[in-house]
Amino acid sequence: MSIKNSHRSKIIYTFLAWTISSLIFFPILWTLITSFKTEAEAISASPSLFMFDWTLENYEEVLARSPYFNHFWNSIVISLGSSILGLLIAIPAAWSMAFVQTKRTKHLLMWMLSTKMLPPVGVLIPIYLLFRDFGLLDTKVGLVIVMTLINLPIMVWMLYTYFREIPSEVLEASRMDGANIAEEIWYVLLPIALPGIASTLLLTVILAWNEAFWTLILTAADAAPLTAFIASYSSPEGLFYAKLSAASMMAIVPILILGWFSQKQLVRGLSFGAVK
């Protein structure tokens, strides 16, 4: 292949990639732009991409109206707390599944995943009653527990597939050197598996951040995360697109920034055992 030819294909691919990704990104860009419009402009019959009076009034109003930072903090605590707690439980389980396999391992794994197929609406009332009786309604602890349990199967599975790529000789070698299991996990397994663990963490943080069923039903004022913040801007009587757009951007941007900084990590770690 000549240099010139590859140069041309690079231009074509670049053009193609930018066009497609812009189209995919467009709804978010549109939300961002709308968040700087007035409500009247947001529903205007001839919408304009840039030619309008840019305003910050939506952001000002949203900040004045809701305790954004409370919700923000709750989101952080719940998503990060549940992900870390989940890792603590999932890593040992994934280790034992990956390195001490039995006939039942696969079934166990599938069973764990199938617990996620229970439709949440179907078990709403039982869970609500349990939360009431244990005094967990509207507490961050309660939500951390729920989010941990919801994401645990995915975590175990992701980690399991990642651990399986690690040749067991490495671990055996360390055992020869007299390391016990804890040392083996801590000093040998974790450093090797760090990309996988990091992307597991990232993925579950994202999933917990966006979970909008349990976080809405089980909270009131104290533990409500950003999903509840959003729910106070959607569909009131009256115009709301611009304010909803502003609120949406405020809810999305933190996680978008996190995603931006960690995308390489994510791409490296989300292998699902495909890198054999």
């Binding site: 729910a231 801007y233 009256g238």
Partner: protein, 436 residues
């Protein structure tokens, strides 16, 4: 004697409350504009009651309803004041889930509350909720378009005239549709409109023995009219349109007429958001000459769940938020047009308000003409104008709404939709064990 005792009790209660640390009450409310204003102005309340602190949970209507219903039915006790509608109050009051509002204060003037609204909030002579704002429905129309069509909107239009006017105003080429009506499936969406409409056609949900009535000619006429008028003069995508979608259409000048909640009057005449603010007229909801008009009756109210342990403080708050003084407070801060409408007769005797709100007279006339106990021409076993105040209604209302939406898009014929509705309502009612 009894009064003295009560005063004593009150005194002790206030004393103990003052002695104790600050009491925090949690208020769950809808994210509508009037409630946002209430939240904004609430430091007036905390100034008057330094021993009470407020915590707010503001949510979109559907989510709020799910949450407070779950909470009140399971005795979760997460909220001290709940914003609920006239649909919930009679059901919950009967269940004993609400605390009676018997201590609203001497200056509250309960008799000033509009009787149509108050009767819907009273169970066994006890008031279980205080109305925050009330609404009915009316016709909003474009004065310029109707003049262009060479017609004149009567104060009390008939359904026949509406259809004729809608046709005359429609100019699909120019993107102007004669009539915008709710089409999105839901008991509080398209069914609010269609049920209210059906009353004026003489239809009813159930007969005196709780037999569903969708197989009657009256329902057929109602739905046929709705489908026809929307096919002739409605906007595309009507089956996904609720209040907000239609509001956006009307404000951008796409609709000739819009029949919806009276609170919309304030939005469409608001010059900041509405491109047609100076070209809007109002008329009463249409009728068919059977003695009932097609307007509904709704109020958002504040109530205290029985599970709340802070009902004294909660009652103080409710009294503040639904009082005459609150109206004056809003008028002072936001202007008379922004005062929560439709709850007190005194507001409609206030010349300043009547001047500031061009839709005020229609609102009060509509509210007063609605009768939740005798909503339609024939007698019914239920309470409610555009709903049936039984627990099963949210479910069957939404399911029937889906059938009607299908008739609107043409996926089903009117006959099929009514037949399916009759069947599914009949099933649910049998399962629930009606007649009770």
């Amino acid at each position: 004697m009894k009064n003295k005792l009560m005063m004593l009790a009150c005194g002790v209660m206030t004393m103990s409350a003052a002695a104790a640390a600050k009491e925090t009450i949690t208020i769950a409310t809808v994210n509508n504009g009037d409630m946002i204003t209430m939240k904004e102005l609430s430091n007036d309340f905390t100034r008057q009651n330094p021993d009470i602190a407020l915590k707010w949970v503001t949510l979109e209507e559907n989510i709020l309803r799910q949450r407070v219903t779950t909470d009140v039915a399971t005795g979760g006790g997460q909220y001290d004041v709940m914003t609920i509608g006239t649909y919930e109050v009679p059901i919950w009051g009967k269940q004993g889930w609400l605390t009676e509002l018997d201590n609203l204060g001497a200056s509250y003037d309960v008799d000033d509350l509009l009787p149509a609204i108050r009767s819907g909030l009273t169970v066994d002579e006890k008031l279980f909720a205080a109305p925050f704002y009330g609404e009915s429905s009316m016709v909003m129309y474009r004065t310029d378009l109707i003049a262009k069509a060479g017609l004149e909107m009567p104060k009390k239009p008939s359904w026949g005239f509406i259809r004729q006017a809608a046709k005359a105003m429609t100019d699909k080429e120019a993107g102007v549709y004669g009539i915008c009506l709710r089409g999105k499936a839901g008991w509080g969406e398209n069914m609010a409109l269609i049920t209210a409409m059906s009353n004026s056609f003489g239809a009813r949900w159930f007969d005196e023995n709780w037999q569903p009535q969708f197989d009657t000619q009256e329902w057929h006429d109602t739905l046929q009219y709705y489908v026809d008028v929307m096919a002739e003069s409605g906007p595309p995508g009507a089956s996904a349109n609720g209040f907000n979608e239609n509001l956006a259409l009307f404000q951008t000048g796409k609709c000739g007429m819009w029949i919806d909640a009276t609170v919309a009057g304030a939005f469409v005449t608001n010059e900041k958001d509405s491109a047609v603010a100076d070209k809007v007229g109002f008329a009463l909801a249409p009728d068919k000459g059977l003695g009932k008009r097609g307007n509904w009756l709704w109020a958002w109210t504040l109530a205290i769940p029985a599970s709340s342990e802070k009902s004294a403080a909660a009652q103080k708050f409710i009294s503040w938020a639904t009082s005459k003084d609150y109206s004056a407070l809003v008028a002072k801060n936001k202007g008379w047009a922004k005062v929560p409408p439709g709850t007190r007769a005194s507001l409609y005797n206030n010349p300043e308000y009547m001047k500031a709100a061009p839709f005020a007279q229609i609102t009060i006339d509509s509210i007063q003409s609605a009768d939740p106990v005798n909503p339609t021409v024939k007698p019914v076993p239920y309470v409610g104008v555009q709903f049936v105040a039984i627990p099963e209604f949210q479910g069957i209302g939404t399911a029937v709404g889906q059938q009607f939406a299908a008739a609107l898009t043409g996926t089903m014929t009117v006959k099929e939709a009514l037949k399916a509705s009759q069947r599914l309502v009949d099933r649910t009612m049998r399962k629930a064990g009606y007649p009770k």
